[in-house]
């Protein structure tokens, strides 16, 4: 009878460094979720009037929240870079018989990221 080797459902990602890195990348999605929740909190505060919105801003200014936002920002950068770097695999662009170099596809994502961020900061009156 064939022998089936057991696989640990709880520690498999420790078996290989690349598995661990992959799981860390997956974990960054949690921070994307946290940021989305904070955004929803802000939108809800705006909808409920200036008093509530001021309360939201005060909430963001707390030391715990500042630490969380800094950690989230760093993790979000890692998340974006990790996924942008694999976009050439998911979205190859073929021109005639050749494929556009992956660096151009990944690079285009960074350009779009930069332009959109700039547009949002402009709209927010940062500049």
């Amino acid at each position: 009878m064939a022998y089936v080797r057991p696989v640990s459902k709880t520690t498999w990602y420790l078996a290989k460094r690349s598995y661990t890195v992959h799981m860390l990348q997956e974990l960054t999605s949690l921070f994307v979720g946290i940021l989305a929740l904070i955004l929803l909190w802000g939108i809800s505060a705006v909808a409920r009037g200036p008093e509530v919105y001021r309360g939201f801003l005060d909430g963001l200014a707390g030391p715990g929240m500042i630490v969380l936002l800094w950690v989230t920002t760093v993790v979000m950068f890692y998340h974006a870079i990790a996924w942008f770097s694999v976009t050439p695999k998911a979205m190859p662009v073929q021109r005639g018989e050749v494929f556009v170099p992956g660096s151009i596809i990944a690079g285009a994502h960074y350009v779009i990221w930069f332009v959109l961020s700039l547009a949002i900061l402009l709209l927010a009156g940062v500049f």
Partner: protein
Amino acid sequence: MSETKLKLEILRYDPEKDQEPHFQTYPVTCQDDWMVLDAINYVKDHVDPTISYRWSCHMAVCGSCGMMIDGEPKLACKTPVRDYANQTARIEPLANFPIERDLVVDMSDFMGKLKRVKPYIIRKDERAIEEGEHRQSPAELMKYRQFTLCINCLCCYAACPQYALIPEFIGPAALTMAHRYNQDSRDQGLAERQDVVAMPEGVWDCSFAGECSEVCPKHVDPAGALQQLKIATTIQWYKGLIGMGGK
């Protein structure tokens, strides 16, 4: 020709005698240009004729000699012994597959899954032979050519953490074959493959760990194929919503 010395630590399993597999070590003196497969062949021919393993072409074409070499799925015929000079190379059957005997795994799960994705050209409108061949431009060929290089060695399945955890997952090589035919301008079978491709055990069980592409000895990039298949499947789903089925 200079010599390379190494030890092969080979996983042994005899289903008629053993409750579970165990390792057996064989010191081998190899010629410097040997591959790991040559070293295993040497052991089989001169030291222990009872070792079971698969191999055939010795030129990375047949895909038979896929095995775990120091924990990495590799073709034994393409892995030089000098990479393990004066070391112990641990040789195991491909991970994530049941062991039939020694280094021989049971591949029937994969064979069944490969059949399910219909890895062949499907035509809705067959045309008569006198109408001539289905012509294809070089650009149309390039769209899927890379995926035709798969030799079904199953190294990708041995590297895939999702297949290890979810045995129902259709897996990298079979889904890559589905994508290869979906991308073929002569094919009209996308809708027929979609039932398997779009189900949870199809592309959606892939978490894009990317290990399949890392270990692929033919540089097929199954991880890329599966992500492209996810996008195509999503587009197909939206097309279905507005009543525009694909090919």
